[in-house]
């Protein structure tokens, strides 16, 4: 007995030695142990900014991020990693900073009550010449009721502008090779958003020595990014862009003025990790990054106060009695300052050096690990930054781990950072001016370049289940404040803000699953091989073994374009203008193209062999381009709004509705199955997405008008609880399989919180499939769909500009033919993985009212059962 125990101890010790050392990976036949898939969702939410004396009605920035990735071993020594990230953000963000006395947030009044603010960034204020041109405001008048009394007011405030929803998509990969004591990675990727595209490549390597107690890391990366940003249409007329026009970076294009410029970043780092004792290790890194090109933000603006030095102080002694002073009796020398706005400018070169260190210590009496980090960075913009972080990773048994963490960050301001500029020269009076030449070379009021500190704290909770599945959830709160800067001297508190991030992730270790008994392999094979389901069909499969799990990812892409339909027929613009928007309204524009992307996570569990539970969170993003209708009437507000909308298009995105389903096995023989699904979608998708307050001060006629709701089709969900039943029959014989399904969507409420309900849906479909190879099959499918028109309408203002803004122009009848392929992995480490694609080609369309024709739909699914 004792001998056995001793043997076990020794075995454990050697096994441990052969296991992954943190940062000191031992490549071996165990490489496949790291094959995994992961998904992550996170929500970033900023708190509302304080904008002084005007209520801030704008929703602050929020970002929804989804991420999915896979890491797989191509051989014992070769690993491939792929990752996809998508984030959608929207909300109000500071575009500039100005003295409060300037009233940069122009009050919006509804029925005489101030309800919000719209940006106002040019004009005139009073400043005190005797006090460094500090802004003053009238505090009252003397008892005679004539002579004004002034007071200094140095309070600053951000001017906020709403950023329309925008989605960024990034794909990146890494290919790695491992030797016994070294490794080499080559990676690259692409990040795409409307106004910014970034391509990057990197190479990294490590070398272990000193009996794997020491590791040397080296890394080199190159990033090439293009900015192609449409300058805010509403702000174009009052932002001075002459500096960029002169440099050739700002160009007039067909649909507006665009900032077109390039930036390149070279990054390098070297790191050394050293095992200190059997309970601790330390890491040191040195990095250097060189960035060149356009590094400014095309939406940020610098306010400059132009004060004519020869200007007679017009407010001194207006009555000739020598009296004109501050409330405290100080004589005043009040002059005018012209406020002008300039697109910010930053140096086109940045050299940044980073030093990092990390210490990790194991506390055996708690089985916990303490991680301590310090990071210092310094650049030639004058920004020195310190970061301290401590994480406590505490396993608490049964696969649970709790990690509280705290982080502190502090930075100095960039040399060219100023909340606003004071220029002691007269401003030009015409628009074709050279005022920009009176400014310094570089200037920015971006708070990210100011002096401040940030404190954040959070907690992560992780649970590792048997079968190699790990669930993680976390929360972090972050607060940015000038007063938190190390050593003091930070920016004033107008720039303070905070945010929180909540996240959840799922990680599946494929090889751990692949090691489950051979019978499971057989079951995958049997089940998936028997009746492949086309990618566009949901609820076709049921798991038939108690305790089985399935995790899947489903992607759907819908594209519309190719002209407008009335019923089943093409229609001329003139008819749409006169009839598409009801009997009294005219149409001014119409959709030109629309794309919708849906990402769905498919989580399924079989508590018994006849019932499966399913949870399906969804994430959507949409974009729509618009065109002006020929023969549309002109004049009035439409003259300004139509080009604004045509230029900018529309983008929305975020969390969609969440599906919760129960699948029942009604009938099952080896060759035939019938399943029934009863479920619902919860209205987690936003149906109150608003367009920005479109018009700035240049359009005084419509100043502060709210853009109203995005149209019905651009909202993210239905807004109602929806009942979603379906019945599916599948059969197979030899290489052939087939199936049919009827499904429906019944809205359980008459209207959602925005005042309307989408139409009910009924759909029927039938398909046949043939196995070309034992792991590959192809399918053909027919689909008929009926969807009713929208009931009710938006219960708050919407700018009705085109057919998409009218409920009767939704729904219809649709006939499609689908062509699909389906592949599964029958053996090996990745057994149980299933991948399918299907293209749905419209063959018949009969729309309600006036709608854009359809181009087709693509479905792709990946699923894994274990």
């Amino acid at each position: 007995m004792a001998v056995t125990k001793q043997k076990n101890l020794t075995l454990n010790a050697f096994t441990a030695a052969a296991l992954l050392l943190p940062g000191l990976v031992v490549p071996s036949a165990h490489a496949a142990d790291n094959d995994e898939m992961d998904f992550q969702y996170s929500h970033y939410q900023e708190g509302k900014r304080n904008i002084g004396d005007v209520p801030n009605s704008k929703n602050p920035i929020e970002v929804d991020t989804i991420q999915g990735g896979a890491k797989t071993s191509l051989s014992d020594r070769v690993k491939f990693t792929f990752k996809y990230t998508q984030d959608t953000w929207s909300g109000a963000t500071p575009i500039t900073t100005a003295p409060l006395t300037f009233l940069g947030n122009n009050p919006i009044q509804t029925n005489g009550v101030i309800t919000g603010a719209s940006p106002l960034i040019t004009g005139r204020i009073n400043v005190d010449k005797n006090n460094n041109y500090s802004p003053v405001q009238q505090a009252g008048v003397e008892s005679n009721g004539i002579i004004p009394i002034y007071q200094n007011n140095n309070q600053l405030v951000h001017t906020l502008s709403v950023a329309s929803p925008e989605t960024r998509k990034q794909g990146d990969f890494k290919l790695g090779y491992e030797w016994d004591e070294a490794g080499l990675d080559v990676g690259g990727g692409l990040s795409v958003e409307n106004d910014y595209e970034s391509r990057f490549g990197n190479v990294g390597g490590y070398f272990d020595f000193n009996q794997k107690l020491t590791r040397l890391n080296l890394g080199l990366s190159y990033t090439n990014s293009d900015t192609n940003a449409l300058i805010d249409y509403d702000a174009q007329t009052y932002i001075d862009k002459n500096a960029y026009m002169a440099s050739g970076q700002l160009n007039s294009t067909q649909n507006g003025l665009r900032m077109q410029s390039n930036r390149q970043d070279w990054g390098s780092n070297i790191g050394l990790t050293q095992v200190l004792t059997e309970n601790s290790l330390i890491q040191g890194t040195v990095g250097y990054t060189r960035s060149t090109g356009y590094m400014a933000n095309p939406y940020k603006v610098m306010e400059a106060l132009f004060v004519d030095p020869n200007q007679p102080p017009d407010l001194i002694n207006p009555l000739g009695d020598g009296r004109n002073f501050f409330g405290d009796g100080t004589p005043a020398n009040i002059v005018n300052a012209d406020v002008k706005a300039f697109l910010e400018k930053r140096p086109d070169l940045r050299n940044q050096v980073n030093l990092g260190s990390r210490y990790v210590h194991y506390l055996s009496f708690l089985d916990a690990a303490l991680h301590l980090d310090y990071h210092f960075s310094n650049d030639d913009w004058g920004i020195k930054a310190h970061t301290f972080e401590g994480d406590w990773v505490q396993p608490i048994g049964s696969g649970w781990t709790v990690t509280p963490r705290i982080r502190y960050y502090s930075q100095d301001a960039a040399d060219f950072y100023k909340p606003y500029l004071v220029i002691n020269q007269k401003a030009s009076s015409n628009s074709n001016n050279t005022d920009y030449q009176k400014l310094p070379d570089n200037y920015s009021s971006d708070q990210r370049l100011s002096a401040y500190g940030a404190l954040s704290g959070g907690i992560s909770i992780s649970k590792k289940f048997a079968k190699g599945v790990t669930l993680d959830t976390g929360f972090e709160y972050y607060t940015h404040a000038g007063s938190l800067k190390m050593g003091g001297g930070g920016e004033a508190d107008y720039a303070n803000f905070s945010y929180y991030v909540a996240n959840a992730s799922l990680k599946v270790n494929l090889s751990a699953l692949g090691h489950i008994s051979g019978s499971s392999e057989h079951s995958h094979h049997e089940h998936l091989h028997s009746s492949p389901i086309p990618a566009g069909v949901m609820f076709g499969h049921m798991m038939e073994k108690t305790g089985e799990f399935m995790v899947g990812y489903r992607y759907m892409y819908n594209t519309e374009g190719g002209g407008m339909l009335h019923g089943a027929n093409s229609i001329a613009d003139k008819t749409i203008v006169n009839q598409g928007c009801g009997t009294t309204d005219k149409c001014y524009l119409t959709a030109n193209g629309m794309n919708m992307h849906m990402h769905m996570l498919d989580l399924m569990y079989a508590p018994t062999d006849w019932l499966n539970l399913m949870l399906m969170p969804q994430f959507v993003d949409m974009n729509m381009s618009m065109r002006k209708l020929n023969d549309a009437p002109s004049g009035g507000m439409q003259n300004m709004m139509v080009p604004a909308m045509v230029n900018a298009g529309m983008n929305t995105g975020g969390v969609g509705d969440t599906g919760i389903y129960t699948l029942f096995k009604l009938f099952s023989t080896p060759n035939h199955r019938i399943n029934l699904t009863l479920g619902a979608t919860a209205p987690t998708g936003d149906v109150a997405l608003l367009m920005r307050h479109t018009m700035g001060q240049s359009m005084s006629a419509v100043k502060g008008i709210d853009g109203g709701f995005y149209d019905y089709g651009m909202q993210l969900g239905s807004g109602t609880w929806d009942f979603k039943p379906s019945a599916t029959y599948t059969g197979h014989f030899d290489e052939w399989s087939w199936g049919t399904q009827v499904n429906g969507t019944k809205r359980l409420e008459n209207k959602n919180s925005s005042g309307y309900a989408l139409g009910d849906v009924i759909q029927s479909t039938a398909w046949g499939s043939y196995s070309l190879l034992h792991w590959l099959s192809s399918s053909v499918r027919g689909v008929y769909t009926y969807q009713g028109a929208i009931k009710g309408e938006f219960n708050a203002p919407i700018d009705k500009m085109g057919p998409i803004d009218y409920p009767k122009n939704y729904g219809g009848q649709y006939w499609d033919v689908g062509f699909g392929i389906n592949a599964f992995v029958p053996s090996g480490n990745l057994v149980g993985n299933n991948l399918s694609f299907e293209w749905l080609q419209p063959v018949g369309t009969q729309v309600n009212g006036y709608q854009l024709n359809r181009d087709g739909a693509l479905s792709a699914t990946w699923s894994y059962m274990f």
């Binding site: 990727g189 190159y222 040195v286 990390r358 920004i383 990690t403």
Partner: protein, 80 residues
Amino acid sequence: MNNQNLGLYKRIIKLIFILAISHTLINCTSVQPWQRRNLAKPQMALDSASMINELRSHNYGSREAGSGGNSASGGGCGCY
């Protein structure tokens, strides 16, 4: 960056290497493979929560001028 700062970095970098190398020599054989059991625990991994840390870095990087730059990976703008 001025020369004074560059000099300072060079000194710091040298110091780190000297410390690490001397420590390595001193501890050359002090932690034997069978003594690395604790080091191999998941909580001791240098990046014990890579997914969430990547997300956090992205958030910090889009809000702070001095963040990022410690890994050579490239990426998007995040300039909201």
